[in-house]
């Protein structure tokens, strides 16, 4: 079976910034279930980069900036929420995801942060994360303090042993009767190898056709507050 990489991109309009008294992103729109909405099927290379607040011409930007763009007049730098369906149907090959660009990348591209294979999720060696249980995606505004942990794969054991997304319990729950996999209500805050704090939610294990191993992710680079700096 040939699998298509279905990349769904929801770029939330940055309708307002620079208003010192509003100070909020339009992140709330993400609640309208971006996964279930008919998503354009595009080549994974066309994944949109984070839009720059100041230009309003998001798709004109070829490379995401290495450091968050700052508008001297603004209090807050806001990255868009990236909703991406990742084809993890292969039983042998991992699919690599670079959180900084919001793109699926080749295994040889060292910029990858997370990799997916069926229900398994691993992190690149220079990536660390922290999990927030029973937390809503919107509720996480900044990277929490506390320890961030890297994967510690166990040599010779099952490949998920010691992986952060599987320890102590995996990122999903498995229903033994129906065999349906459902994500737990957790938000992962990942310190990416691109230098960002990124909140990541695994929204679903299934695509819009309800086929398995098409992992629906939602990620958001946590913006830096100019005021906080």
């Amino acid at each position: 079976m040939k699998s298509l990489a279905i990349v769904s991109v929801v770029l939330l309009a940055l309708t307002q910034f620079a208003c010192s008294d509003s100070g909020r992103s339009s992140d709330n729109n993400a609640d309208s279930n971006p996964i279930a909405a008919p998503a354009p099927v595009v080549d994974s290379t066309t994944t949109l980069p984070p839009a720059e607040a100041t230009t309003g011409e998001g798709d004109a930007i070829a490379e995401p900036p290495a450091t968050p763009p700052k508008d001297s007049a603004a209090d807050v730098i806001v990255y868009p929420v990236v909703a991406l369906g990742i084809d993890a149907t292969s039983k042998t090959a991992w699919t690599h995801f670079d959180l900084d660009s919001g793109k699926v990348v080749a295994e040889t591209d060292v910029s990858w942060d997370l990799a997916f294979k069926r229900t398994s999720i691993k992190m690149n060696s220079n990536v660390k994360a922290q999990v927030l249980r029973d937390t809503a995606f919107e509720a996480v505004a900044a990277a929490p303090a506390g320890a961030y942990t890297a994967d510690a794969p166990v040599v010779g054991g099952p490949e998920t042993d010691g992986l952060f997304f599987h320890t102590p319990s995996p990122w999903y729950e498995y229903n033994m009767e129906t065999h349906v996999i459902s994500p737990r209500n957790s938000i992962y805050v990942v310190k990416s190898n691109g230098g960002h704090d990124v909140k990541v939610q695994i929204v679903d294990y299934y695509n819009a056709d309800r086929l398995p191993a098409f992992i629906q992710t939602k990620s958001h680079i946590l913006g830096l507050s100019a005021a906080a700096e």
């Binding site: 079976m1 294979k117 099952p158 498995y174 229903n175 033994m176 129906t178 349906v180 309800r210 398995p212």
Partner: protein, 591 residues
């Protein structure tokens, strides 16, 4: 009779046998063996992926051995035969022996044996049948009858639509388009005869499935089935008989599962099953004894994408001997039998049976039988490698499995006023051990759930039934039956899932001149829950038909029927097609 493999009349059969004679007038609106049996009490319906089958004595369809003219049938996938695919019109009668019958028939005969006896006489006929649910079928039967030889040829085709489940996109048993032919040549001489059998059919099954995660999938099975067989018999002095059978049965199944919205293929599998069966039977009366002995060799071969290896083979050789001893002027008979099976997959298995019949006079008979049954692990349980891609788990066979085995006691008392009424009371108890169940091994390296099979469980079923046949006048005829079932999983100490405790059925027919009016109803109590069952769906089911047939003369027979008279939708395990009006026409040009 199926129960003894020797000729007996129905009443004299030393083993309790239920016989369903295919009666033209009252059964015109049924088109498959399944529909005939679904109405009977104590025979519970099991909906399968590929069709429907019957549960005997509360035991699943895989514990019932289905035979056609005493021989095994190929093409069993998912452990059960699809009785809906067997055209009723080619059938003369169906005999059901409840209780373990492995001492004569070998593996699978734990719940009992269903023997479908086909029409052998040459009968020229054309039959068409259809209903308002879109079900259609047609058959042409012909042949020639000479002094010592005959050939009977049937050609048939049908188109069944799948049945939509209430409030779901999924369908229950598959829709089917099928056509096929059956040719039976026969030659009879003074002291020998020979019978052949050639059968071929093509069928396309279609269904819509819903994965637990919600994917809407279309499945299609393209099935080609063929049988070729020869059966010479030699009639010797003193009424002894030597019979040889050789038969090859081949079944090919191409299975495709696609995502309905895009047509993207999710699963493709090809399976080919071959059964080569030969047997030699010797029947010899010897004073008060009637000896029946034989040897049977069954070679099974399976090639499938679903196996751990490309192809698997197994051979089973069996010897059996049965003695029918008649004492006290045939008032008392005692029938011991024993069978030894040697299987290439495991060493051997012995099955025994002992039946007693006491008939003090012509109006009553008491029968007691003890039987042992076994079921050899199926190819699927031994060698399957199945990955459910749309759900996400793996099932792997276990070649260390041993046969499941059972012990069973059946009691039957029949009382009749010859030619007027009859009453039958029966009871049974069965215990099965080493039941094969799927168990979770562990997650594999990729995090997938991995299941396999193990001989772990024990189960028990018991029950009683009562039947009454009562011709109330020359015209009115009533048949009434009640069945009670107790079924328990002894390993977990819970009720066996999805079984009804009580079932009740009747058939009332009225004949006047050329008309026959018949009403058949079956009621089944709510299925027994256990801690896993979804109680919300459990309710009693009533299903009934009303039919009227008119025989114009010896050539024409018309019939009209309302099926599912009460508009029942059944339940999750017995899906009943919507209420429909059906028509059929049979034309017998000459006899």
């Amino acid at each position: 009779m199926t129960g003894t493999r020797t000729p007996h009349t129905r009443w004299d059969s030393p083993v309790p046998t239920q016989t369903f004679v295919v009666n033209d007038e009252t059964l015109q609106h049924y088109h498959s063996v399944y529909e005939l049996l679904a109405r009977a009490p104590g025979l519970d319906v099991v909906d399968g992926v590929r069709g429907q089958s019957i549960r005997l004595d509360g035991l699943d369809a895989k514990y019932t051995l289905v035979l056609i003219d005493g021989q095994r049938l190929g093409g069993r996938i998912d452990e059960a035969y699809d009785l809906r695919s067997i055209e009723l019109d080619g059938v003369q009668r169906v005999e059901i022996i409840r209780g373990a019958g492995s001492a004569l028939y070998g593996s699978d005969a734990i719940g009992g044996v269903i023997n479908i006896i086909t029409r052998h006489s040459v009968k020229h006929r054309v039959r068409i049948h259809g209903d308002t649910n879109g079900q259609k079928d047609a058959l042409i039967g012909t042949g020639f009858q000479g002094e010592s030889s005959s050939v009977s040829i049937d050609v048939y085709g049908n188109n069944d639509k799948p049945v939509q489940l209430n409030g779901s996109e999924a369908t229950s048993f598959s829709g089917s388009k099928k056509y096929g032919t059956q040719i039976i040549p026969r030659y009879t001489s003074d002291n020998w005869d020979i019978k052949g059998r050639l059968q071929g059919s093509k069928e396309i099954l279609t269904a819509t499935e819903l994965s637990p995660a919600g994917a809407v999938l279309k499945r299609e099975n393209k099935i080609t089935h063929s049988t070729i067989g020869v059966e010479p018999s030699l009639y010797l002095e003193n009424e002894s008989e030597l019979r040889f059978t050789l038969k090859q049965d081949q079944s090919e199944d191409d299975y495709t599962q696609k995502l309905r919205r895009t047509g993207a293929v999710q699963t493709e599998q090809e399976t080919m099953e071959r059964i080569l069966e030969s047997s030699l039977t010797y029947i010899k009366p010897l004073g008060i004894h009637l000896l029946n002995s034989g040897v049977q060799i069954i070679d099974e071969n399976l090639e499938s994408d679903r196996l751990l290896q490309d192809s698997v083979d197994r051979n089973r050789t069996a010897f059996y001997i049965q003695d029918e001893i008649s004492l006290y002027d045939r008032k008392f008979s005692i029938i011991p039998s024993i069978r030894q099976d040697y299987d290439t997959q495991y060493d051997n298995h012995t099955s025994k049976k002992l039946s007693l019949r006491y008939a003090p006079d012509d109006s009553q008979a008491l029968m007691i039988s003890y039987g042992e049954g076994y079921r050899a692990p199926s190819f699927k349980e031994l060698y399957l490698l199945f990955e459910n891609t749309s759900v996400g788990y793996v099932v792997e066979g276990n070649d260390e499995l041993t046969p499941e085995s059972s012990r069973n006691v059946h009691l039957q008392y029949n009382l009749r006023d010859q030619g007027r009424w009859s009453i039958g009371i029966g009871a049974f108890h069965t215990v099965i051990k080493d039941l094969i169940e799927d168990v979770l091994l562990q997650r594999d390296a990729a995090g997938q759930m991995r299941y396999s099979y193990e001989n772990i469980s024990r189960a028990e079923t018991a029950g009683a039934d009562l039947s009454l046949a009562l011709p109330m006048s020359d015209r009115f005829h009533l048949q009434l039956a009640y069945g009670y079932l107790y079924a328990r999983d002894l390993s977990r100490q819970v009720a066996l899932l999805r079984r009804s405790k009580h079932s009740l059925s009747y058939e009332l027919s009225y004949r006047k001149d050329r008309f026959t009016l018949a009403n058949q109803v079956k009621w089944q109590s709510a299925r027994e829950p256990n801690e896993k069952a979804d109680l919300a769906n459990d309710k009693a089911i009533v299903n009934g038909d009303l039919s009227l047939s008119y025989r114009q003369d010896s050539s024409w027979l018309y019939s009209i029927a309302i099926q599912n008279l009460g508009g029942s939708s059944g339940d999750a395990y017995w899906i009943i097609p919507r209420r429909s009006l059906s028509f059929s026409l049979t034309w017998i040009p000459f006899t």
